[in-house]
């Protein structure tokens, strides 16, 4: 029962969703819309509550033990703040909710994203050493492309930007396509095993 029912549901919905792909019939589209749109969204939303509750529980536990008190308070404060602001002033433009998003959440997210620039720099310094033939190819391609992408590249040689595009469009594209083909095959096989219930990692943990 505990594994049969989920396996059956997985099989049935797997086949239905597989078949709908090949149909342009309104019914098929409606099924697709309902399952992937409405149902997934709702299930996700409920699971989100489970996830947030889990996080809140861990944080409260820490508070109870007197560990990481200031951090836990700030995290819980942030968690409560957004829904409260949304309740007070809605979520439209110029609401307190949007204010908090634009002046607190968004700048922090953008800053974390911009950390990447620094990490690209440190990774460039240590990751491109010509230790072997493949590593040398990696190094040379990166250098050619980096230099070829500079606005000044044409001044060095008119062939440099062309070489950059050529590398991107042909040898690099060929490898990329092979990677994608492999991923397509791997995904297909995994998905098929999931539908047939051979792959059932997610059902573990009785």
């Amino acid at each position: 029962m505990q594994t049969r029912v989920p396996l059956l549901i997985c099989l049935v919905f797997g086949i239905i969703m597989f078949l709908q792909y090949f149909s342009a019939h309104p019914v098929a589209r409606a099924i697709y819309q309902t399952v992937t749109n409405d149902w997934w969204q709702v299930i996700f939303a409920f699971t989100l509550i489970v996830g947030v509750a889990g996080y809140a529980r861990i944080t409260l536990k820490k508070l109870g033990q007197g560990r990481d008190v200031p951090y836990s308070l700030v995290a819980l404060g942030g968690l409560v703040l957004m829904p409260v602001l949304a309740l007070i002033g809605g979520t439209k433009i110029n609401s307190p909710f949007m204010w908090a998003f634009e002046n607190m959440l968004a700048p922090m997210q953008a800053t974390v994203f911009s950390l990447l620039a620094f990490f690209v720099a440190s990774a460039s310094f240590r990751g491109f050493r010509a230790r072997s033939i493949p590593a040398t190819i990696l190094l040379l391609t990166a250098l050619i492309v980096l230099i070829g992408r500079l606005p000044l590249a044409e001044m060095i040689s008119q062939y440099l930007p062309k070489a950059t595009f050529w590398i991107k469009d042909y040898p690099s594209m060929a490898a990329r396509r092979a990677i994608l083909i492999g991923i397509g095959l791997g995904s297909m096989a995994t998905a098929l095993r999931v539908i047939l219930g051979i792959e059932r990692t997610y059902l573990k943990g009785e």
């Binding site: 342009a24 992937t36 433009i93 953008a110 994203f113 720099a121 980096l146």
Partner: protein, 270 residues
């Protein structure tokens, strides 16, 4: 692994170089790339009051790179009296899109509801894209600010993709792919993209296959577009900083190798 001190040195170097080259205004004019030219020409030659759809499919964090592109394209579209239906397939793009549309519309004296409209955000992007192929008003019964779609003058002349000349998707990820793969084959919708530089290569296959009309990518694409438009903006402004950061990365790669070979030859002798 490199020592913490080396990391700090690398990090501070980058920070100083970018800050300095941003403060010192150096002008750099670059030749427009074929993709940017193609995009510009497309919007340039569209007849007046053609309706285009603009989708803000990115997060707030990609703003520094996407905004110069979207500003340039929106300005161009409004300047040529095209009409714009805006929306977002990424929750975070919603307020941004609304704000950018209002800003550019304000600059060129365009009226909300007549010259442009912003429909807001729809989650489950695939369903939204497919749904709009049948009826845009069914997917967005109301616009972002709560007007009923069927009462908005612009929306009265729009029912589905048949009335939309091209979709321009501004994306920092793979959202544009969904426009290409779902609005393209089923509804024959033409798609153009404004992308972060990082994403450009992943769209090459679609450009090559013609599924994607053209791309304006990265700050450089924005700067080139600004040049074509004859109006400099953040794209142009950022180019020197980007170029020097770029040179810095090249220098680091070379420095890393010099150190590596020096150590190796030393070890070889010892």
């Amino acid at each position: 692994m490199i020592t913490l001190k080396t990391r700090w040195l690398i990090f501070s170097g980058l920070f100083i170089i970018v800050t300095l080259s941003y403060i010192l205004k150096i002008s750099m004019v670059s030749q427009p790339s074929p993709q940017v030219e193609k995009s510009f020409d497309y919007l340039e030659t569209l007849p007046e009051s053609t309706i285009i759809m603009v989708s803000f499919d990115h997060e707030a964090s990609a703003l520094p790179e996407i905004q110069p592109i979207s500003l340039a394209l929106l300005r161009h579209a409004f300047k040529n009296n095209l009409r714009i239906v805006g929306l977002s397939l990424f929750a975070e793009g919603t307020a941004i899109g609304y704000r950018l549309l209002n800003k550019t519309a304000g600059e060129l004296g365009k009226k909300y509801g007549q010259d442009y409209v912003f429909l807001g955000f729809k989650p489950q992007h695939i369903a939204a894209i497919l749904g709009m192929g049948e009826s845009i008003k069914d997917v967005f019964p109301e616009d972002y600010i709560g007007n009923r779609s069927d009462t908005i003058p612009l929306m009265m002349s729009v029912s589905n993709y048949d009335d939309i000349d091209i979709v321009i998707s501004f994306a920092d990820g793979d959202r544009t792919v969904y426009w290409i793969e779902y609005a393209g084959p089923r509804y024959g919708q033409q798609v153009m993209a404004g992308l972060t530089a990082a994403m450009i290569t992943s769209y090459d296959p679609y450009l090559a296959s013609g599924q994607l009309y053209s791309v304006v990518g990265g700050l450089r694409g924005a700067a080139e577009y600004e040049n074509l438009l004859g109006k400099t903006g953040k794209g142009n402004r950022s180019m020197p900083a980007q170029t020097s950061a770029h040179l810095y990365v090249i220098a680091l790669i070379i420095a890393g190798n010099i150190i590596y070979f020096r150590n190796r030859s030393r070890q070889g002798r010892g």
